[in-house]
Chain length 200, copies 2
């Protein structure tokens, strides 16, 4: 029954990644140990090492997951033919991030901060971050092009430059949410709506 | 000669913090060692420990410095009575950050990323980050109030919410600059100008 086996392996892998994510959200990449992950996963050491040979491999897997938080969201956003409001897109992104962050199995945005810091020094994580963020920014550029086609964004601006700013609004939101604790999708969107003004 | 001694101590302290900043920008908070910092500083171990009792104390000092990068800039920005353009303020902030980051003694924005990740788990760094970022956001709120007084920002929005978004644009710029390497104050400002539209 190879299909069941593949599903079983995938579920086990997710169980380990989930445990690792929980440990790293609590303690950071550097202080979380394989022993912590094994304990948290409820599996044997042998089982865990059957999926991940080292802490580096687990770190890569959870960095991948942490940096993919809003990936699936854009399929829904871009699948409609309705005119896209930039402010509405950003609001959906913010709400989605907070919903995912508040899941009981560990705040993935805390792991995101770890992944950013790690990417500066760790080539494997840098590669994952570049791949993930290049794709994410492509989605924002598509949103900008749609807004230009709709006439809600000036047509003489490079949509890639607008995508840099739209992409760039999320890390600062995540940072303020974790470090200052007083931002929400509502407050941030209110500020954004005022700034975007007639473009929203 | 107590004045000379105080100046001398301050210069020595800066020399050590500069060396530590260089090491952390290269290797991250967790992999940089006291031995690295001592070697980089050119001072004796005894001299370095005379200023900082532990790596934690040095980390606090460089986190403080990394999170203070744009502090002095706002004195200049807010000292004028001229109407403030939000787009122009953001452009000055971005240009300032890149100028500081490109100094030869280590990219302080790389240390900033380390400080964000550390603040999530380390109460001492969290306190520094909260203090620094609360002050910084107050500056942005002042800018928003000035724009409201000038009539370039709607008066019915909470300036604190606008400040969240203005503050929030910088971490995403820093992240893209370090991880993707293709943003500059020019490209980001071009995107921002288009988004702010008539409000700029």
């Amino acid at each position: 029954m190879p299909k069941v086996t593949a599903e079983h392996r995938l579920a086990r892998r997710e169980q380990i990644v989930g445990a690792a994510l929980h440990c790293v959200a609590e303690h950071g990449f550097h202080k979380a140990t394989m022993a912590d992950v094994i304990r948290e996963s409820g599996l044997s050491a042998g089982a865990v090492y059957g999926y991940f040979k080292s802490k580096d491999e687990i770190i890569a897997a959870i960095a991948d997951q942490a940096l993919s938080t809003v990936d699936e969201l854009f399929e829904g956003i871009l699948s409609t033919d309705e005119p896209l409001s930039l402010a509405a897109v950003m609001r959906r992104v913010l709400e989605h991030v907070v919903t995912v962050a508040e899941r009981h199995d560990g705040d993935v945005t805390r792991v995101g901060l770890q992944a950013w810091a790690e990417a500066v020094h760790n080539p494997a994580i840098a590669t994952i971050a570049r791949e993930k963020y290049t794709i994410l920014r492509t989605h924002y550029a598509t949103v900008a092009r749609r807004a230009q086609a709709d006439g809600t964004l000036p047509s003489d601006v490079d949509p890639e430059h607008v995508a840099q700013v739209l992409f760039g609004m999320l890390p600062g939101f995540i940072l303020q949410r974790l470090l200052l604790g007083d931002v929400s999708p509502q407050t941030y969107s209110a500020g954004l709506d005022a700034l975007l003004g007639s473009n929203s």
